[in-house]
């Protein structure tokens, strides 16, 4: 029904809308508009594709789209913001799965007249990348939702193993490309299986603290999978969109790594060239029993009331305890009492990039008081009270001093410079990186034990 040229032009419009969509996210006030652009672009693309060829089986297609829509909408409406990382991981897996399915479908379909070898290679690559994305994302989802331990699975000679798998995939690929079209389904299956295993292994080998990077990496892979499918189907929109998403994910991963002050190789291949992360507990290095000062809600409230400047450093613990709403109420009360309240967000706080920001926004905290690390680090010296809520590895002084620590070199929020630090935590256990934190034993630090939400609610009550 649609002339080919018009379809391409509509694809062009969709691509432009996608670019504008991503651009809109550079500021909060244009962000919502950006999302709308994306929706319109997607609608155009899907609509035009559905109706461009009368030979399509509409009823089946519309049924599939509708079914997916229902599930997608239900999941999106019900997901809690704290569960955002695992949901995003799960969604990435779908793109990978779709890419694999489309790859196989193409292979089982009609042979092309020209460019056979290139077409075969494209199918092969699409299936490989799709499979890695699929299984990698599933493992990421499992780790993030706590169904699988966050500790990295470090098999012996794992680099060699990965290299071997890649070599076998390439070898199978040669067979695949050499065979007549449609008759070499086995190498393709081998490819899919091996790539899946590779995906599982790669993500399983990455430690829990590095999950934010993994999520952005998988985001990137899903883009490349879409692009590969685009080459395979000669669909310009798939190629362009895949490239946009792929580079977006790659940049986010790089930014995350910079935020942790480690190179991306280090993170992805887990300890490439340096000591492998020991997930372990150095208690105090001299074996001395250190005491912590414990406080109650009333103590904290007293200090808060007398403070002029208060800073709050949230971490994953705040997400887990769902304490962001209590914190919001506390913040509004304090601001009403002329206390200056700001939030310090570490680039890798939480389990995915921007995790804390989303939670704080959900709790109605205006974005102007939410500061990044560089903006707030200098202010701690003039801050009266810092509340560290469920954060640990981002407020650890040993990251700056102990060169054997797994988090050495990672920029920290220097809360210890403030006059008083209260750490809201359930116990003295280590954080995600498994590293002990001497901050707890500082003279100006006091531990406010308990569930973060309950603790904050106690504070709000007494304010």
């Amino acid at each position: 029904m649609l002339p080919e040229g018009l379809l391409t032009v509509i694809y062009l419009a969709a691509a432009v809308l996608f670019i504008l969509s991503l651009g809109g996210l550079s500021r909060e006030d244009t962000a919502r508009r950006g999302n709308i652009f994306g929706i319109v672009g997607m609608a155009l693309a899907i609509g035009a594709t559905l109706f461009h060829d009368p030979g399509m089986a509409y009823h089946i297609l519309l049924g599939a789209v509708a079914a997916g829509a229902i599930i997608g909408i239900i999941v999106a409406l019900r997901v809690a913001m704290t569960a955002m990382p695992e949901m995003v991981a799960m969604l990435h897996s779908f793109v990978g799965l779709a890419a694999v399915a489309v790859g196989f479908a193409s292979y089982l379909g009609a042979a092309p007249e020209t460019g056979m070898t290139v077409y075969l290679i494209e199918i092969y690559v699409a299936v490989a990348v799709g499979a890695i994305t699929f299984t990698g994302s599933v493992v990421a989802w499992a780790k993030l939702s706590g169904r699988v331990s966050g500790a990295p699975l470090l098999l012996p000679a794992r680099h060699v193993l990965n290299a071997l798998v890649v070599l076998v995939i390439i070898a199978a690929g040669v067979f695949f490309a050499a065979a007549p079209f449609g008759e070499a389904i086995n190498p393709l299956v081998v490819n899919a299986v091996l790539a899946s295993l590779l995906g599982i292994h790669l993500v399983a080998a990455i430690g829990g603290a590095d999950m934010p990077v993994v999520v952005s990496l998988l985001n990137s892979y899903s883009g490349w999978a879409a692009a590969a499918a685009g080459f395979m189907l000669s669909n310009i929109l798939l190629i362009v969109t895949g490239a946009l998403v792929g580079s977006s994910g790659a940049i986010l991963s790089y930014i995350m790594c910079r935020g942790m002050n480690r190179s991306i190789w280090n993170v992805v291949f887990g300890g490439f060239g340096t000591a492998d992360t020991k997930s372990d507990t150095v208690t105090t290095d001299d074996g001395v029993e250190r005491e912590v000062i414990t406080v109650t809600a009333e103590d904290v409230v007293d200090e808060l009331k007398n403070a002029e400047r208060v800073a709050i450093v949230p971490g994953y613990g705040m997400a887990v305890a769902r304490a962001q709403h209590g914190i919001s109420e506390m913040t509004h009360k304090l601001r009403g009492m002329d206390v200056d309240v700001t939030f310090g967000i570490h680039p890798v706080a939480g389990r995915m990039p921007g995790h804390m920001n989303v939670l704080l926004a959900e709790a109605n905290i205006p974005y102007e008081v939410v500061k990044e690390l560089e903006e707030i680090n200098g202010d701690f010296a003039s801050t009266d009270v810092v509340l560290v809520v469920g954060a640990n590895d981002i407020v650890n002084p040993t990251a700056q001093t102990d060169s054997t620590s797994p988090i050495y070199g990672m920029p920290q929020l220097e809360v210890w410079n403030a006059k008083r630090v209260y750490v809201l935590k359930r116990s003295l256990s280590t954080g995600y990186a498994g590293v002990a934190n001497p901050l707890f034993f500082n003279e100006n630090t006091a531990m406010f034990f308990g569930d973060a939400r309950a603790s904050i609610e106690g504070v709000v009550e007494h304010l």
């Binding site: 651009g23 290139v118 899903s222 190629i239 480690r262 921007g354 926004a361 205006p366 680090n377």
Partner: protein
């Protein structure tokens, strides 16, 4: 190694470059310290106190220079009134002088010391980077000047700066205008606020607005597009139109303002004229103007350097020794900065001037007589880091640590990565050539578009604010649901059953992605509220 502490001979200079406490520190770390008699007297530090700290007292100025390997001074060497000689003539080859120097304004002095073969580290040439905070005397002294300016202003004001409620009546707060919100300006704002005054501030750099407001003052803005941020965190020279608008603003403020404190200095140049005669005339009698830029010409037309004058009932203070007026603390801070510098230089046991250190490279004027100043400019860094560092420099009172901007690879991986990158680059080129020769034209066409799209993505994504990274992940995830097209295209009427099933499956899962992804993003973005929106919502709940 021996450190010599000289007594300042310039008229009005009461500060000293080392106090008994830092002297004790030097002795402890292995230096021998010789202090000229009376060096710290005007700052409140007696010779006895220095002796107790372990120093030897030298009665004559020249003997300090004779014995010391490192000489510490506050102001640059000058003609000594008691000995018909210039202090610089006492310098010898290889001797190190650490003091304020102003090499740009003191060429003769530089030559003189160069001829003597001395090494000079200029304390005023410290780069305005966060790492140098500890040795930055300009900031430490400027902070004191700013504070003292308010003290002098209020002293001459003869009225209460703040609100007073008494049985005999209530006083209104004084209105203070601070021009220039650098280190001195911010200190002045803070001091005035502490005394209860209503403070207004102006600066050509919009970036300081937040700092000013965080101190409780009101930031006065011009309706102007020009931005005053120069390099090194200093303001730059503004266009005439801007200056005219600025002066119009001040003229407007003049009749309302009780105390004006100006701190606008431009390094190496004459201070800009900001407060004209008309403005002073428009001010109420009893008002005070304190001009901290008096030494370089003054911001006020009527300023007389070093003096306090009266014009039309308004007192105009042009003292050039504000920091020296608080000599005790000023010396304490100055000495602390110097002690930190000596620590940076390795203390007694590992003393070395490492020119690879950015701070030392900028500071060194002469090395054994050889001219090293000005230091060559370093290549420009990442713009992100620059912005953060400039913000750091202005708020020198609030050091901001900008650490680890680049991914720091530990020794071995970075050495391994380089050759890897080179081989990757070569492989990439080879790949491109192969494509060009062997690939079908369709592929090349698509590949071109692919590469260009990657660049577009690259450019666009760098601008995304970190706080929006999660919605970005979510929206790109939704957009990658475009793979649904792949599924749709498989489901044609003449497709094989296998292809049909696979296509439907792909369409189904991709659809979850599309609808779920956009909806979740919408949910998230709805939550990001600005302060106004948040206030509305909060008051509504």
């Amino acid at each position: 190694m021996k450190i010599g502490v000289s007594r300042e001979v310039e008229a009005g200079e009461k500060r000293v470059a080392a106090i008994p406490e830092t002297v004790a520190g030097y002795e402890e770390s292995g230096f021998e310290v010789i202090v000229e008699a009376g060096a710290g007297e005007q700052a409140g530090y007696s010779d006895q106190a220095y002796r107790k700290a372990g120093a030897t007292i030298a009665d004559e100025a020249p003997s300090v220079w004779e014995k010391a390997d490192i000489v510490l001074k506050v102001l640059p060497p000058t003609e000594h009134p008691d000995y018909d000689q210039h202090e610089a003539d006492w310098a010898r080859e290889g001797q190190i002088l650490i003091s304020l120097f102003w090499p740009a304004q003191n060429e003769d002095l530089t030559d003189r010391l160069g001829d003597r073969g001395a090494t000079v580290l200029a304390l005023d040439c410290i780069p305005r980077i966060s790492r140098a905070q500890a040795v930055d005397v300009l900031s430490s002294q400027a902070g004191i000047s700013g504070y003292r300016a308010v003290v002098e202003a209020v002293h001459n004001y003869e009225r209460y700066p703040g609100v007073q409620y008494t049985a005999a009546g209530k006083t209104d707060p004084a209105r203070v205008l601070v021009i220039g919100a650098g280190v001195a300006g911010l200190a002045a704002i803070a001091a005035a606020r502490e005394l209860g005054a209503e403070v207004y501030a102006f600066d050509t750099r919009l970036a300081v607005k937040e700092e000013v407001e965080s101190l409780g003052a009101t930031f006065l803005e011009l309706e102007f597009d020009e931005e005053g941020e120069g390099s090194g965190g200093y303001a730059k020279v503004m266009s005439q139109a801007f200056i005219d608008a600025e002066m119009a603003l001040f003229q407007e403020q003049a009749p309302l303002t009780d105390m004006v404190i100006t701190t606008a200095a431009i390094p190496g140049r004459e201070a800009p004229l900001l407060v004209k005669e008309e403005m002073v005339e428009a001010m109420k009698p009893g008002s005070v103007v304190v001009d901290l830029a008096a030494a370089t010409g003054g911001n006020c037309e009527l300023t007389e350097a070093g003096k306090k004058v009266e014009y039309d009932g308004v007192t105009i203070i042009g003292y050039t020794d504000m920091a020296s007026r608080m000599a005790n603390h000023a010396s304490e801070f100055f000495s602390s900065n110097v002690a930190q510098l000596l620590r940076l230089l390795g203390d007694a046991d590992q003393f070395a001037i490492d020119l690879n250190d950015e701070i030392l490279r900028e500071m060194i004027v002469l090395k054994n007589g050889e001219l090293m100043w000005p230091a060559p400019k370093l290549p420009p860094q990442d713009t992100e880091e620059d912005g953060a560092e400039e913000r750091a420099e202005q708020a020198a009172a609030d050091p901001v640590v900008v650490e680890g901007g680049e991914a720091q690879e530990s020794g071995s991986p970075s050495k391994m990565v380089r050759p890897l990158l080179y081989t990757a680059g070569v492989a990439g080129l080879a790949f491109l050539v192969l494509i060009g020769v062997y690939a079908p034209p369709d592929f090349i066409h698509q590949f071109t578009i692919f590469v260009l799209a990657c660049f577009v993505g690259w450019k666009v994504i760098w601008n995304v604010k970190p706080s929006l990274h999660t919605p970005l992940l979510s929206v790109t995830n939704a957009i990658s649901g475009i793979i649904i097209l792949g599924g749709i295209l498989q489901v044609t009427a003449d497709a094989t059953t296998a292809a049909l099933l696979l296509g439907v499956a792909a369409t189904f899962v991709a659809s979850i992605n599309v609808f779920g992804g956009f909806l979740v993003t919408q949910r998230m973005l709805k939550m990001f509220r600005s302060e106004d929106e948040a206030a509305e919502v909060h008051s509504a709940t």
